[in-house]
Amino acid sequence: MKVQRSKGMRDLSPEEMQVFRGVEAICRRCFTEWGYREVRTPTIEYLHLFTSAGTLTPGRLGKVYSFLDWDGWSGERVVLRPDGTIPVARLYAESLRDRGLARLFYAANIFIFEESPERPRERWQCGVELIGAGSAVADAELVALSLEALKKLGLKDPEVRLSHAGLVRALLEKLGLSPEEQHRTFDRILDGDAGLLAEISKDSPGLGEAIRPLLGTKGRPPGFLRDQRDIIAREMPDLAPCLDDFLATVAVLDELGCACKIDIASGTGFEYYTGLIFQLYIGGEKVGGGGRYDALIPAMGGGDVPAAGFALYTDGLMKLVDAAAVAPAGAASVLVRLKSGVIKDAFMLGDVLREKGYTVALDMGGKSRGADWTIEVRGKTPAFVVTNKSGSRQDAPDVAGVIKILEGKGGR
């Protein structure tokens, strides 16, 4: 019987893993440089953490891996982490709230059931949460940090699309939908239905002409929103607070020289978003996104603490980065050939060379990947024969002689 891996799951080969770790390392370094500290939350959480209104949409909840734990006789279900942010918010509310402001990041896998076996059911992401700051500057820090991480990954021309959860909700109220329908519509927009707002607004007479262009799915430059601000505020004063909040962030981003597009209708994201939503694209492929979630930590009993964050999608980034650039070659590699009688000498040679920074493997026969150097341990004079990649051989009387050859200081 052929053994197979589970549907929708992925293996990473040593080469792929090198790229994976390279991407993670760049993100980790970048986040650390901005004052963020790494946390790790468990793979399994209680389902009820994700079921409260305002955390995940029913569409997303319908795709969680939920099951009864070995002690689940009470009927309490657990899930494989379906989202990165909610557990970190839970961690903050549970044990970090006395710290006030917290800059946290994580590299974690999340699990979403996808029907199509081609779509991954386990996804990796590097995420950042800025908890305890609720300003336009805080929003801008997150956008800027995400862009810097993409830049350090060697990715060019990122596109930033901005929306605003508060503004979308306020607009839905204007469309004359029942609260239940507003909820459902918002969920569908969050789940990625970008044309929905424009479609619904078509036959909504209560909507001013100034609003209509906002609902299109095409990204527009931020200046457009500024130009419309007074007209919209005059026609629909209820929208003004959200609009001003949105424009304040846009202004800071402008000042920082971040090129962004406004795309109100495309708010793919999470139900817990309350303010800015931003999405990151490289060459049309979404590589990350984030937003403000000021109500999430209060809902978990963590106090009135604003927060925002983003995540970069490790799997997608792995395909886009230059593998050689993110995963540079390691130390020079040495293969040690040995025979019985010289085993101890071979192990000792390995120890010394590893101390010196070489990667040393013992030859176990069979095919092995080409090493930079091959050293034969002979147990008689000459004690070692050193061969380089191009096949040229040199003798060494002792370990010091081997090192001299490797360092290019000895021999012929």
Partner: protein, 465 residues
């Protein structure tokens, strides 16, 4: 390749049989008697027909064991809501067997109290979970039950999801909250079979005979009738909550209690009363399915219950640390739990089976009512790549075509022998037993009352010897 058709027993049997007859199928045996597992059709002699519990049919179709099946949509949706990529195609509405699933409760939920724990008892645990997620209940737990869901509210569950019928909503003191699903009997097919096998002639015959006579939509169930309103069980501090079995075990149980000098009032009940009286002060009794008792005792809904060691062991296989234990062997209903294979299988013990499976190189199909026991048995015996097929009774009919191994209970072994099967292993002997919640004994008042019940029953059991 022969087309395989799964027909339902139970609620759909009579109408399905009548309409197949009308279509001239000429089935030799498809009625409510025994021994009707594999009827033959004169009209379609090459079609392999097998009769299943209705709940089994969507699983049989989804796994491709059977090509076509007839069952109500409630069971199809129960599978699809959890496993949306199942290979089931709904072919045709057959127009009978209509019903609706409702959520119901003693009183409507307090909308402002979302966040309060909601316990939902249901034979449809997947649909119940989907309902709770859709309704955005933030803190819910689902109790999967084998039956008698209507008995749980208000003490043991806030809500139930159940098919309306036979007074199980209003008559049980409940009021309907929301109609969750309307269903009727459908012809369903396996997706691959539909493409690969020539099943059109059978579909045409079934649909031609059956459609065109759609019955009216089911009536809305009424709210709690005054007669149906029953006082909730006394759950004052220190009250001991005892669960007694429904179904065919009632007579043996009542006999034992009589011998123990414990009087039960209205048990077994002619009117379906699930809250019989008992002549011990501070004890409240409810009647539920024995299969559901270990879980209900574990989660503290009951302190004591009369069930079988088979169901307790199945529960402990799923939840090894569960706080429920056997407190008294009632020595009734002795059966053995056995591992059974077809007589054609060249193995006489589990080691032989393991070798046979390894050489055969196909996934082992283990069918059982005791899914957790079966799972543990396969795991503990290193049966390799295996799959457990949950069944709802009459499991011996699954071998050899629809399963390779059964974990079954047997009293005499005669049914097993009659089906050309053999026992290769005995897991343990099971009798009826009194089980208790470990925590209940920590309560001084309860401990005294529990002790009294145990002593009376013990005297009766020992007096029987």
């Amino acid at each position: 390749m022969a087309v395989k058709l799964a027909l339902p027993k139970g609620r759909l049997l009579r109408k399905t049989a009548a309409r197949l007859q009308k279509a001239g199928w000429g089935l030799d045996e498809y009625n409510s008697g025994m021994g009707f597992y594999r009827p033959k059709s004169q009209k379609f002699p090459d079609v392999l027909i097998r009769v299943f519990h209705e709940k089994d049919i969507p699983i049989q179709i989804a796994t491709g064991n059977y090509d076509l099946g007839i069952c109500c949509l409630d069971w199809v949706e129960e599978l699809l809501v959890k496993y949306p990529s199942s290979d089931i195609v709904k072919v045709a509405d057959l127009g009978y067997g209509e019903g609706s699933l409702y959520t119901a409760a003693v009183s409507p939920p307090d909308a402002s109290a979302n966040g309060a724990p909601v316990r939902i008892a249901s034979e449809y645990p997947n649909l119940a979970e989907a309902y709770a997620l859709r309704r955005r209940l933030s803190r819910f737990s689902v109790f999967p039950v084998w039956g008698a869901a209507e008995a749980y509210p208000p003490e043991n569950a806030e809500m139930v999801l159940l098919p309306a019928g036979e007074g199980n909503i209003g008559g049980a003191g409940l009021r309907p909250l929301e109609r969750v699903l309307d269903y009727r009997a459908w012809l369903i097919a396996n997706r691959a079979s539909r493409e690969a096998k020539n099943i059109d002639r059978i579909v045409t015959s079934l649909c031609g005979a059956i459609s065109g006579e759609k019955t009216a939509a089911p009536a809305e169930p009424s709210s709690a009738s005054p007669a149906g309103r029953r006082p909730p069980l006394k759950t004052a501090a220190g009250a001991v909550r005892l669960a007694l079995p429904d179904g065919h075990q009632q007579q043996q149980t009542v006999n034992l209690f009589n011998r123990a000098g414990i009087r039960l009032d209205d048990y077994p009940s002619a009117t379906g009363n699930r809250r019989p009286g008992i002549d011990i002060k501070g004890v409240a009794v409810k009647v539920i399915r024995p299969q559901d008792m270990p879980l209900q005792v574990a989660n503290g809904n009951f302190d004591l219950a009369v069930t079988g060691r088979d169901w307790l062991t199945d529960h402990k296989s799923q939840f090894p640390g569960s706080p429920v234990s056997e407190v008294l062997d009632l020595k009734l209903r002795r059966v053995r739990l056995v591992a059974v294979v077809s007589r054609e299988v060249p193995a006489d013990d589990v080691a032989g089976l393991s070798r046979y499976i390894a050489a055969r190189g196909e996934t082992l199909r283990v069918a059982s009512e005791y899914v957790n026991l079966a799972d543990k048995y396969a795991r503990d015996n290193h049966l390799g790549h295996y799959r457990v097929i949950p069944t709802w009774g009459a499991t011996e009919g699954f071998l050899p075509e629809d399963a390779d191994l059964l974990i079954e209970n047997t009293e005499t072994g005669r049914t097993i022998a009659r089906h050309n099967l053999k026992i290769i292993d005995t897991l343990f002997a099971s009798t009826a037993c009194l089980i208790g919640n470990d925590g209940a004994l920590a309560d001084a008042v309860k401990k005294k009352r529990i002790g009294l019940i145990i002593n009376k029953l013990k005297a009766a059991v020992e007096g029987d010897r």
